[in-house]
């Protein structure tokens, strides 16, 4: 870069490495950091270090937490007999926003993807099976994404869990609420038709 201030170039490069941040955004973010009062910038840096250091996986459900178990697993009001299996911790946030789900979760931290060399062993599957073996589990909800890999992972898990005589369910497919039929793709529409309910 023409202005040649090396610490600035390095800062821009760091921002560029973040997902969804292009060259221009990285520049804007870096200049913003330099515009901040020094103590705010130090705060930002320390928050990164603190988060990286303190956050680990919940020993029960593998969600991210700063204590031994996450607040959801610690909550005695949550129904421990229903486990919702998700790909990553972000998915838990999405479910919690519905304010309707009162069970607990299990985070796989990925999906089975032979193309990317990710097999069942790299995911938190043995931890899930151990939970089912030791806790009183009535139902496991497969809540992986409706993609090829999400489907394959759900199917793989269902094959392992169903023989243990545990109810194994999958999220419903259908028209998104507020969506427009005209713009729904044919697979979604077919699934919505197939899964139609009595009124």
């Amino acid at each position: 870069m023409a202005t040649g201030a090396l610490p600035l170039v390095r800062l821009i490069e760091q921002f560029e490495r973040l997902p969804g941040v292009g060259k221009k955004s990285a520049q804007r973010l870096a200049f913003h950091i330099l515009d901040m009062p020094a103590e705010k910038a130090a705060d930002f840096a320390n928050t990164i270090l603190e988060a990286r250091e303190k956050i680990k996986k919940c020993s029960v459900c593998q969600n991210l937490t700063d204590s031994e178990t996450c607040p959801i697993c610690q909550n005695t009001h949550r129904d421990k007999s229903t486990i919702c299996v998700v790909e990553n911790p972000q998915d838990i946030l999405a479910f919690e926003r519905t304010k309707e789900y009162n069970g607990v979760y299990h985070v796989l931290h990925g999906l089975i993807s032979p193309m990317n060399g990710v097999g069942p062993d790299q995911l938190a599957i043995k931890e899930l099976l151990a939970r089912i073996g030791t806790e009183e589990v009535a139902e496991v909800i497969m809540a992986t994404n409706p993609t090829v890999e999400g489907e394959a992972t759900a199917t793989y898990l269902a094959r392992l869990i169903k023989p243990m005589n545990i109810r194994t369910t999958r999220l419903a497919y259908g028209i998104p609420v507020g969506g427009n039929l005209e713009y729904a793709d044919e697979v979604t529409l077919y699934r919505a038709l197939e899964g139609r309910n009595e009124m």
Copy 2:
């Protein structure tokens, strides 16, 4: 946030404060940081601290630099008699990308904006006048943005500088190269017409 890991919540909040980063992006960036190897995250944090600590304003042109004067002012091949006045250091990057400008710069670090309580005193205007008074300056190019505030600042500076018998110019207005006449706004089109050149 439902997952309740405080260091994570704080990290998301820090990202949310950055310009152009919404709630969802902040979440994605924070989870990305937690996914990084620990030493990469530490690198990121340290780059922020280092940049904030080492970067200061060039004593000549007010550009950001990590030494006493910036590389452009240090460069003996640059024409010191032509000063291009810009709002902020990012604008220098834009000019340097053209690879056509060989003069030097002066960064105002803002524009005159009575609405936001920014007067001439808060900008690096006295430093500019001091340069013009002590260096051999032949031309000052006003390269502030083509906005109301950019115009007002350019006009204000021109009124101060012209009486010092120094050539004072303004960037040309016109149709952007590669643009489409059909989509040009009427003010731009009028300015392009007004500024037409012999072929």
